[in-house]
């Protein structure tokens, strides 16, 4: 494989464009995702089936640019429910570009890294940020396994199931939101809760290499 394509968003891009930027960067870390991104040169759009939100993903030979709105250059427009990724999307232009449609589908559904790998990457990318604990303990309750990172002078523990840990640690959900919804249990101070949530938000918005 050659050099990885640079994946970036416009300076004032919406949160949606930034979230998908993070998704594509994660896909780019997997050999299967990287191969698709390397192979593709296209422009396509994702549009909300519930509201006006829309983004365009423009993949050229050396970079991937995410911007707001539906570009007239888009070969394919995928209408989807962003709040429910499992809902079946409507794809405009699929009949004209069946292979492209298939590859985009693969790109957007590259499997997530497992929680343990994600936890390692999360700590590596965020431990230097303000208000982070010096030790992070991640406990997967269904595997009954814990991993700890850093040293124990100020510790924060996150406990949850595989699924919730996977989305949390790659920046697809926020710790404070997951804790308030009861999906995640925590042991630590408010300072560290805000610090880890802030770090997750930075990952989510593509501001860190996670």
């Amino acid at each position: 494989m050659g050099t990885q394509k640079k994946i970036y968003f416009d300076r004032e891009a919406s949160p949606l464009a930034r979230v998908f930027c993070n998704t594509l960067r994660l896909a780019n870390q997997k050999p299967a995702g990287q191969a698709i991104i390397e192979d593709l040169v296209t422009c396509f759009s994702l549009k909300s089936s519930k509201g006006p939100q829309a983004i365009t993903i423009d993949i050229n030979s050396d970079s991937v640019r995410l911007s707001d709105g539906v570009s007239p250059q888009s070969s394919i427009v995928i209408e989807m429910d962003f709040d429910n990724p499992d809902a079946r999307p409507k794809i405009g232009g699929a009949w004209k570009h069946p292979v492209l449609t298939y590859k985009i589908g693969q790109l957007l559904s590259v499997p997530l890294p497992n929680w343990a790998d994600s936890a390692k990457r999360f700590w590596a990318a965020t431990s230097h940020l303000p208000n982070m604990p010096t030790e992070l303990v991640v406990t997967c309750t269904d595997e009954r396994r814990s991993l700890s990172f850093g040293d124990g002078s100020s510790s924060f523990e996150i406990l949850s199931t595989t699924n919730h840990l996977e989305t949390l640690l790659i920046g697809q959900s926020l710790l404070v939101v997951e804790a308030m919804q009861g999906n995640v249990r925590i042991k630590g101070t408010l300072e560290h809760l805000t610090g880890i949530s802030h770090a997750g938000q930075k990952l989510m918005l593509g501001e860190l290499d996670g």
Binding site: P15, L16, G51, P52, Q53, N131, L190, H198, G200
Partner: protein
């Protein structure tokens, strides 16, 4: 005023209840009603209040994705320390007094992100340089004949403006006469509360009024706006009407919070004009404010809604420029006489926190003076409609936050911790809009903005 004197003052004014009053970062009024023994017992440190008071957004949601050291690890209290020199009697309620406060930690230490404390710090640093600031705000707001309940039921739309004309007339006495019963009550209460106002008039928007205040020291000038906004809201409630300081309620004129300021030397003479010339201090002061104007925009235009007001040819400036007597440049510099020598900053919007507005503007000037900066050439052109390659001020909440993040001068002057926390609050506002508003591509104020800002700022 010391503590025995405050008791005498309360006796003399028959004050049995004191309402303490401070602002959140965003400018919402917060405080408590205290009975006389509790208020006196709390002096000089003040009474407890949850640290949430300074760590919540405009909807009351705690700041849960960023942190400042004044907060407690498991939620806790801070103090509201009364500035007893600010106590006034209500005038309408015979038992009630009002007292403005600063937030401190439970040990009485200043909190750097308390808006009033921040402004005091900047004013103090200017004082140490040997100058005294005088500042005066012009507050714009819309008045409606509908109650707040009715306005809420109408989703803040199709309200009945108080003035007569439906066009964008300005200074019309017929419009002013329609607003006069409301404004009579406002100025009566301002006088009772010793808030020094100078004039009011019909403004450009339909149902809009501008109320101008007398020059005074910067903290008092900002206190005046904090008091006046609350008082105007209360008059509206008491008269069965409604008001809003929202920056933009629709196409056309929005609400500004223009601010004038001047510097005097210790002997009381102008520090901005000497021998019929602009002083070197004024030049470096202008340089500091113009070079920090892009970053300061975030503090001067804080809400998502504020950027809808920043359209060309509708009064606010859109460039970081200055010009003598220019109302279209970023700064209107007035130096025709020593007595009048001052700067008018026309960018702040009506929804801004006046303490932060003055802290940002004076902080910019102070940085310019300390570093002896050179100002850009005076703008000779109309400040609107300029070619596209002329740099504009940020035109979005995130653009402004990013400009502030890059502004090292304001970071040094106001404190990087203050700037970092503020930027996080703006990012939260931006995320809230994008995740909660169903009409993100709207070209005019959305329902989300009305619901969030109409009544609270």
């Amino acid at each position: 005023m010391d503590e025995p004197t405050i008791e005498e003052w309360m006796d003399r004014h028959h004050v049995e209840i004191v309402r303490t009053h401070a602002t959140t970062l965003e400018g919402a009024a917060v405080g408590k009603y205290l009975n006389r023994p509790k208020f006196l017992k709390s002096l000089p440190d003040g009474h407890n209040i949850a640290d949430l008071a300074l760590a919540m957004d405009i909807t009351g949601s705690p700041h849960m994705s960023f942190w400042h050291d004044f907060r407690h690890g498991q939620f806790g209290d801070i103090l509201m320390r009364p500035d007893i020199d600010s106590i006034v009697s209500d005038g309408t309620d015979p038992d009630l007094g009002h007292c403005l406060c600063d937030f401190t930690d439970v040990h009485g230490n200043d909190i750097s992100i308390c808006p009033r404390t921040l402004l005091k710090k900047i004013a103090g640093e200017i004082d140490e340089l040997g100058y005294h600031v005088k500042a005066a705000f012009e507050l714009e707001f819309f008045i409606f004949r509908n109650t707040f309940d009715q306005a809420r039921r109408r989703q803040y739309k199709n309200l009945d403006p108080v003035t007569a004309s439906t066009s964008n007339n300005i200074y019309l006495l017929r419009n002013a006469h329609k607003a006069k019963p409301f404004m009579d009550e406002v100025v009566k209460r301002l006088n009772w509360q010793r808030v020094s106002w100078e004039s009011w008039s019909d403004e450009g928007g339909v149902g809009q009024v501008e109320l101008s205040f007398s020059p005074t020291d910067p903290v008092k000038a900002a206190d005046t706006i904090v008091r006046a906004k609350q008082l105007i809201y209360e008059v509206a409630v008491d008269l069965g009407m409604s008001v809003t300081f929202m920056a933009s309620i629709g196409p056309g004129y929005g609400n500004g919070l223009h601010v004038h300021h001047s510097l005097q030397k210790k002997d009381g003479t102008s520090a901005f004009r000497e021998n019929e010339e602009k002083t070197p201090l004024l030049k470096s002061w202008i340089a500091g404010i113009t070079s920090t104007m892009a970053g300061a925009t975030s503090l001067l235009c804080p809400t998502f809604n504020a950027y809808r007001r920043l359209t060309e040819f509708t009064s606010p400036p859109v460039t970081a420029t200055w010009g003598e007597e220019s109302k279209t440049a970023g700064l209107r510099v007035i130096t025709r006489t020593d007595d009048l020598a001052r700067i008018e900053h026309r960018l702040p919007s009506g929804d801004a926190n006046p303490y932060l507005v003055l802290a940002a503007i004076l902080g910019g000037g102070l940085a310019g003076a300390r570093k002896n900066l050179t100002p850009p050439e005076e703008s000779q052109f109309v400040g609107w409609g300029l070619p596209d390659d002329v740099p504009r001020l940020p035109n979005s909440i995130m653009g402004a936050a990013e400009a502030l993040a890059e502004d090292t001068l304001l970071g040094e002057t106001l404190g990087q911790d203050v700037i970092d926390y503020w930027i996080n609050t703006r990012k939260l506002e931006w995320l809230s809009f994008h995740s909660e508003c169903s009409d993100i591509e709207a070209k005019t104020s959305t329902q989300w903005e009305y619901n969030r800002y109409f009544e609270l700022l």
